[in-house]
């Protein structure tokens, strides 16, 4: 390989074997077929199992489908879904902001890090259910009860990852920034942040999932609207098909979020290392 480009527009030949375009498509088709087969198999097992059980224990797929279409058509469906989603997103966003900021500060200062480490252990060992009870005492039946529980669940996860991530920052890059006389804030923004971003992303995904799950628990305890409340009502009235319908809604929502928001965002943010990982 020559250091001098023979022509400026020449494509970069890095010497790696290039994938055959057709092969990737075949693989994707095969994967789609496998997924479809799995779905059919699960539905079949569900159908057979439901034949031997009363509907309040295990409703049939058809019954759940009917319950779901009725649910979507009901006037409060979108409102409940929206309210729950809003609480999760608010709690998560606060957790991300505080988690990243505190994680960076603790990572940048060894003394602060050692000082606060036990507090972090304390927060992570307290169960989300206990946070929900505290939240109920402190905030009563309000949005903030759920938001607080999501926050307390997601924040330590993000904070810990960011903090650990600051230790993987390349000292050579920091020295480079120093030769350009960059300020501490610039070093954090231009060296630390990009280094921890991949780690932040994977922990944020985990934190969002945990947050979404505990939000329902929090809502059953300390809210008067939202998916958690509807789930509890349905369970109290033995409307098992309603419980299933809500569950499927949430699963679908999380899958859509993954496919439509997270995956494309990740592909865009980490374009720079895509090939490096593949080799």
């Amino acid at each position: 390989m020559s250091a001098v480009p023979s022509s400026p527009a020449a494509p970069v030949d890095d010497g790696r074997p290039k994938p055959v375009p057709g092969a990737a498509r075949d693989r994707r088709l095969k994967l789609a077929a496998l997924r479809l087969a799995l779905l059919v198999a699960l539905l079949a097992i569900w159908q057979v199992a439901s034949l031997g059980a009363p509907p309040f224990v295990l409703p049939s797929p058809m019954r759940v489908w009917e319950a779901w279409t009725a649910l979507v058509a009901s006037p409060t469906f979108w409102k409940d879904l929206g309210v729950t989603f809003e609480r999760i997103v608010t709690g998560f966003a606060l957790a991300a902001v505080f988690g990243v900021a505190i994680g960076l500060i603790l990572g940048a200062s060894k003394t602060l890090g050692e000082f606060f480490e036990p507090v972090l252990t304390l927060i992570t060992t307290v169960s989300s259910a206990i946070w929900a009870i505290f939240a109920l005492i402190w905030f009563g039946l309000s949005n903030w009860t759920t938001i607080f529980v999501v926050f307390m669940t997601a924040m330590p996860l993000i904070l810990t990852t960011v903090w650990q991530g600051t230790r993987t920052v390349n000292a050579d890059f920091v020295e480079l920034a120093r030769t350009f006389r960059m300020s501490q804030a610039q070093v954090l923004a231009k060296i630390y942040l990009p280094t921890i971003l991949p780690l932040f992303f994977s922990s944020a995904r985990l934190a969002f999932g945990f947050g979404a799950r505990v939000s329902l628990v929090a809502e059953t305890l300390g809210a008067s609207s939202g998916v958690g409340v509807r789930l509890k009502q349905a369970a109290d009235l033995l409307q098992t098909d309603q419980v299933f319908a809500w569950t499927l809604t949430l699963v679908a929502l999380m899958l859509a979020l993954e496919a439509l928001v997270l995956k494309p965002l990740e592909a865009r943010l980490f374009r720079w290392k895509k090939q490096a990982e593949a080799s």
Partner: protein, 248 residues
């Protein structure tokens, strides 16, 4: 006037066992304007430390450094001094152009001007077509060119180089030497070049300073009066290198 003046600088590093390691002893160095001065020495002779002291990254324990006649502690125009490292230190998440722009971001240059100067500098090192390539897509020689462009984009008057080409293939290293000499002629900066390779020093420098290790001290200073461009394989270069190697 000398652009870089090092005056009886000494440096000790603390060691784990409580003793201190004498890294540099009474170093005097004079770099005239638009000169290329090479500092040669075996590993462990403190050449990188000396460069770090000139760059203001490390404080000397004794002696002082003058940059453009100003004492380093009072020097403010640090943007006119850049540093090229042994590793290219390209940020993997930035494209070639963004890596070059890194030097200007600290200086707070506005975006349109930044874009213009980055394009200009990439063209200067012959990488115009590779502005949007990520470091992992570039060969070692091209990465070295990007790193060089990053050190040039602020239009420095002093360029410090710490064995920047030691990891390249010999043929590409020769190309980089030609590039450095061509660009230096064009931009007229002063260069302090650290290397352990005597031939490299003879090919590039007006003046070669030989350091001896433990503690690092100046053993010899040699003017190189051969005309540029210097062929690394020519007998004159070989003879100069032989003379210098004797004092290593």
């Amino acid at each position: 006037m000398s652009v870089v003046k090092v005056q009886s600088v000494s440096k000790w590093f603390p060691r784990r066992d409580g003793e201190s390691l004498h890294v540099l002893q009474n170093i005097d160095l004079d770099v005239p304007e638009k000169a290329i001065v090479a500092i040669v020495g075996a590993s462990g002779c403190g050449k990188s430390t000396l460069l770090n002291i000139i760059a203001g990254l490390v404080k000397p324990d004794r002696g002082c450094v003058f940059l453009n006649g100003v004492k380093a502690s009072d020097f403010e125009d640090w943007r006119s001094l850049t540093y090229m490292f042994q590793e290219d230190r390209l940020l993997p998440w930035r494209t070639a152009a963004q890596n070059v722009a890194f030097g200007l971001e600290a200086a707070g240059v506005a975006r349109p001007e930044r874009r213009e100067r980055v394009a200009e500098t990439l063209a200067l090192v012959g990488l115009s077509g590779f502005a949007d390539a990520y470091p992992h897509e570039l060969s070692g020689g091209m990465r070295s060119r990007v790193a060089l462009a990053r050190s040039l984009v602020t239009r420095p008057s002093i360029l410090l180089m710490d064995e920047p080409f030691s990891k390249l293939d010999p043929s590409i290293r020769t190309q980089m030497h030609d590039e450095v000499l061509r660009i230096k002629e064009l931009m007229g900066m002063t260069i302090v070049f650290v290397t352990h390779d005597v031939e490299e020093a003879v090919v590039l420098a007006d003046k070669v300073v030989v350091l001896n290790p433990r503690p690092g001290r100046v053993r010899e200073t040699q003017e190189i009066r051969l005309p540029y461009p210097r062929d690394p394989l020519s007998p004159d270069v070989a003879e100069q290198a032989r003379l210098l190697r004797r004092s290593l």
